[in-house]
């Protein structure tokens, strides 16, 4: 298992990452408006990049989505079966719906297992290296949304 969902030794990378990201901690999170089960507008008006989003989803220290989900990437071994398979998710959900599920799925389902990737409030006992910053930045959320929206059957 990789260092992302670190059930083992803390990786060296995580320390570097925490240092890097602590720069974000001073700035408040971009605000957003929920409409139904969606956040229709991109966070901070940013434009997502699907290729960067794909890298974030596969990366074991950042999104680390594959501990729980399957994506259509035959070269990725040991994908998780905790959440729904994300193949074709771009057809099932529009960008606004995808954004809300990434930002904070509990806005829509209080009992969700899906972690809140853009939230710092109301979390308990967060490890120091992850405190006061979201798991993904606004730009990173938009990148991942762009990638997920591109997951459509050929």
């Amino acid at each position: 298992m990789g260092p992302g969902f670190r059930f083992g030794r803390p990786g060296r990378l995580a320390i570097g990452l925490a240092g890097l990201l602590s720069a974000h901690s001073a700035t408040a999170l971009e605000s957003y408006t929920v409409v139904g089960d969606a956040i229709p507008a991109p966070l901070g008006g940013r434009i997502g990049d699907a290729a960067r989003g794909r890298a974030l989803v596969l990366d074991r220290t950042q999104g680390n989505c594959l501990i729980c989900h399957h994506v259509p990437e035959p070269d990725e071994p040991f994908q998780g079966t905790i959440g729904p398979d994300l193949a074709g998710v771009g057809v099932r959900l529009d960008s606004g719906q995808l954004r809300l599920r990434l930002v904070d799925a509990s806005l829509f389902n209080p009992r969700t297992v899906m972690p809140p990737y853009f939230r710092t409030e109301g979390l308990r006992d967060v490890a120091p290296q992850y405190r006061d910053r979201p798991a993904l930045t606004a730009q990173e959320i938009e990148d991942v949304v762009a990638y997920l929206a591109s997951l459509r059957p050929l």
Partner: protein
């Protein structure tokens, strides 16, 4: 018990077994058959190397301090089942201690030797040895009296969301049992195999080391080895595991 009584009890047990949700299984039940066989085979389960070292330490004398064996003669009998009753309230201090804590206490008070230290090879060896003497004995901890507040605290810990990923132990170890988290199959999260040899660690580690890994997995604060937080959690896990046999030294991924 009469033969009929036994048959009735067995039928009841079988019924309880099919109750599904309520049934807690050992972590090894979720391993591949190959790893299950390896755990059961003393020659191929590396945890037994620690057990052997622990057995050796148990009988050794340091200077004029009595060895463990001086107080616990015939440990295969006198200590059989001991590990199955930990964590428990220490009568002297009124506080909850686990098996490692009891071993350290014997060292400090009875042997007048310096502490071995959490995760030291010596303490892991002794704990693995003493736990191995209870292999097959059902876990039977008490959560009554002075242990009750610890039990309640452990239960609350187990049930509350925590960390940046905002997940509670129960969401994985009750709600998602059998699902795949990367290469691992999620079990009921009981500690009956610990101390266990983990391939990821390349060595033997305590239950608290495993708990620290789950805490970090959800990006939550890691509590100290031997902290009241993890001791309380350990007691709660042991109550969930009541009736399951002690399996240490376990073998895990």
């Amino acid at each position: 018990m009469s033969a009929a009584g036994r048959a009735f009890a067995a039928a009841l047990l079988a019924l309880a077994g099919t109750a599904g949700a309520g049934e807690i299984k050992s972590g090894s039940a979720f391993l591949s058959p190959q790893m299950q066989r390896q755990q059961a085979d003393q020659a191929r389960n590396p945890g037994w190397l620690w057990v052997e070292q622990g057995e050796e330490l148990f009988s050794r004398r340091e200077g004029d301090a009595p060895g463990c064996i001086s107080c616990h003669a015939d440990p295969g009998r006198s200590l059989r089942g001991a590990a199955a009753r930990y964590p428990q309230i220490d009568a002297a201090s009124g506080k909850l201690i686990n098996l490692e804590g009891r071993i350290e206490q014997c060292r400090a008070v009875r042997q007048k030797r310096p502490a071995l230290g959490h995760e030291s090879q010596e303490l892991l060896g002794l704990a693995a040895y003493v736990a191995s003497l209870s292999q097959g004995v059902p876990v039977s901890v008490s959560a009554e009296g002075a242990a009750k507040p610890y039990y309640e605290a452990g239960k609350a810990f187990y049930e509350r969301r925590q960390g940046q990923l905002n997940l509670a132990c129960t969401q994985c170890h009750d709600g998602l049992v059998g699902r795949k988290l990367r290469g691992d199959t999620i079990s009921h999260g009981v500690g009956t195999g610990y101390p266990a040899y983990r391939l990821e660690w390349n060595g033997l580690g305590s239950l608290h080391r495993r708990l620290r890994a789950c805490s970090l997995g959800v990006r939550a604060t890691q509590f100290d080895y031997g902290s009241d937080d993890y001791l309380a959690l350990e007691l709660y896990l042991a109550v969930r595991a009541r009736g399951l046999p002690v399996e240490a030294p376990g073998l895990r991924r």
